[in-house]
Symmetry: C2
Subunit: 149 residues, 2 copies
Amino acid sequence: MAEISLRKIDQSNGYDCFSLKLTEEQKLFVSDPVRSLAQAYLFKDQCTPFGIYDGSKMVGYLLVIYDPDESEYNLWHVMIDRDYQNHGYGTAAVKQAIAYAETKPFGRADKLSLTCDSRNVHAYSMYLKLGFLPTGRMSDEETELAIAI
Amino acid sequence: MAEISLRKIDQSNGYDCFSLKLTEEQKLFVSDPVRSLAQAYLFKDQCTPFGIYDGSKMVGYLLVIYDPDESEYNLWHVMIDRDYQNHGYGTAAVKQAIAYAETKPFGRADKLSLTCDSRNVHAYSMYLKLGFLPTGRMSDEETELAIAI
């Protein structure tokens, strides 16, 4: 694993998102990056989609969005391309997403939350290892997890 | 056909785009609105995606984008939902897209152009009837058509 970085999605790299592919198992739990970018348009003033890079290669995608009603940041649509699984990219990328949320780019908040299907064992345990904790709330059969920022 | 209008896509109506469906034939020629909205994110400072409405019902989608290099507007991804074909919606909507481009919302230009596969006979003839003319240029096997604005 070379140096992992997050880079904001824009005209220069956006079409690389269109090539990211999910495994059949991932499709059960995660949105396609194209669908996520479409949502990013709807919330364009309160979210930042990122490509996850290994060096100059985009290997995944995630989106950080601000929820002004809850005064919290949310992490959406974390995915690593099916050809780049199990290299630790997810963990490295989520750490950087937490650091980004800590800059509070869209407004005040004291936590970053996400929802994860507990049957998505690999992702769920990754979030717990990173310090996310269940909030006790559920959303569409997914468990809400949060970390202080 | 009730009153046809274009409404800008935002948080209030954006998810309706996700429900618009293409026929198998349309899929040969036109992008899915979700894919188009993802592109809209990339070009968010120079484009406007619209829902095409019959009264309060979204029946289609189109996107107007400014090309600063060519100093022209482009019409992308015009589609009418498969359940609302052949009602004249496309013609009414494109007329309004022309009127919108004439307001030059993103910068100066003197034409609105688009590309259309000439095998897409219905759409191609619609554009000609509306006053679009072939420019003589091709793009990815599609014919470029333009109208003065």
